[in-house]
């Protein structure tokens, strides 16, 4: 029997993998992909709670759709920033993008 715990454990695992990626990846596009993993973990939680805690209302599902919308906007802006950085510095290595460091 699948309980809500299984989904919570899965989303905790995905979120931890995502946070490792955000900290450790040096490619800016890789960092954005890790953020996508974390947003998906959040979505799994929203849907699992919508299914198991409030099975009659659809608040969780509606908010999952909103989270997907926000993710789309965030990726578009992030990738535009990456393209701009690449134009100015010829690389997208986030460790070396330190122009604004004091």
């Amino acid at each position: 029997m699948i309980a809500v715990h299984h989904y919570i454990f899965l989303s905790a695992a995905l979120f931890a993998v995502g946070i490792y990626g955000v900290i450790a990846r040096r490619n800016a596009v890789g960092v954005l992909m890790s953020i996508e993993l974390m947003l998906n973990a959040v979505n799994i939680n929203l849907l699992a709670f919508a299914r198991y805690v409030t099975p009659t209302t659809l608040t969780g599902q509606v908010f999952a759709v909103f989270v997907i919308t926000v993710a789309a906007a965030e990726v578009a802006v992030g990738l535009a920033l990456v393209i701009n950085v690449y134009r100015n510095m010829d690389h997208i290595n986030v460790d070396d993008i330190n122009l604004m460091k004091w």
């Binding site: 450790a24 890789g30 996508e36 998906n40 919508a50 198991y52 099975p55 009659t56 906007a73 690449y86």
Partner: protein
């Protein structure tokens, strides 16, 4: 059967999520990320969220990943492989942070008392067809109409921002 499907999808999702992170070539990471997203869509179907599963496949695995691949190919990096870090302790610190967060989350969620509704909300007990397009749309266009309109403003702002950022000369 349900449990088997859940386990297979969850294991594939986590394994390919790890592969997304450890792959040095960003193109391979993007392809593994698509596998993760599709497995998560399978889980959404199991949670009787058919509409969100379809949105996940179309918007995430379709549109967003095409955007990623498009940018990766547009950049056409000479050397797409991650260069060794200039920060010495970055990887160990990241691993410690990730593991700490994982242990913390697992500990807290294992210790939490399940609310009373949890047991009554077992699969199969909810009336009707809660994840269908009709029921999602009904609550999206009545109770959550204002947030829904706000997302359109958000998308408009995002679009304007992307054009301003990516255009060479305005």
């Amino acid at each position: 059967m349900d449990y088997f499907l859940f386990s297979v999808a969850a294991i594939i999702a986590v394994v390919s999520a790890v592969l997304v992170i450890v792959q040095r070539n960003p193109m391979h990471s993007a392809l593994y990320l698509i596998i993760t997203l599709l497995c998560i869509a399978v889980l959404y179907l199991q949670l009787s969220a058919q509409f969100v599963a379809a949105v996940q496949v179309i918007v995430y695995a379709g549109a967003i990943m095409v955007l990623f691949l498009f940018v990766l190919m547009l950049l056409d990096q000479e050397n797409p492989i991650d260069t060794p870090s200039t920060l010495r302790y970055q990887n160990p610190v990241a691993a410690v942070m990730g593991l700490l967060l994982l242990v913390e989350l697992l500990f807290l969620s294992a210790r939490a008392q399940p609310p009373a509704v949890l047991t009554s909300g077992a699969p199969g007990s909810s009336p009707g067809f809660p994840g269908s397009v009709e029921s999602v749309a009904e609550s999206m266009f009545t109770r959550y109409l204002f947030p829904f309109e706000l997302t359109s403003v958000l998308l408009l702002i995002g679009m304007v921002g992307v054009i301003v950022l990516a255009k060479r000369k305005l």
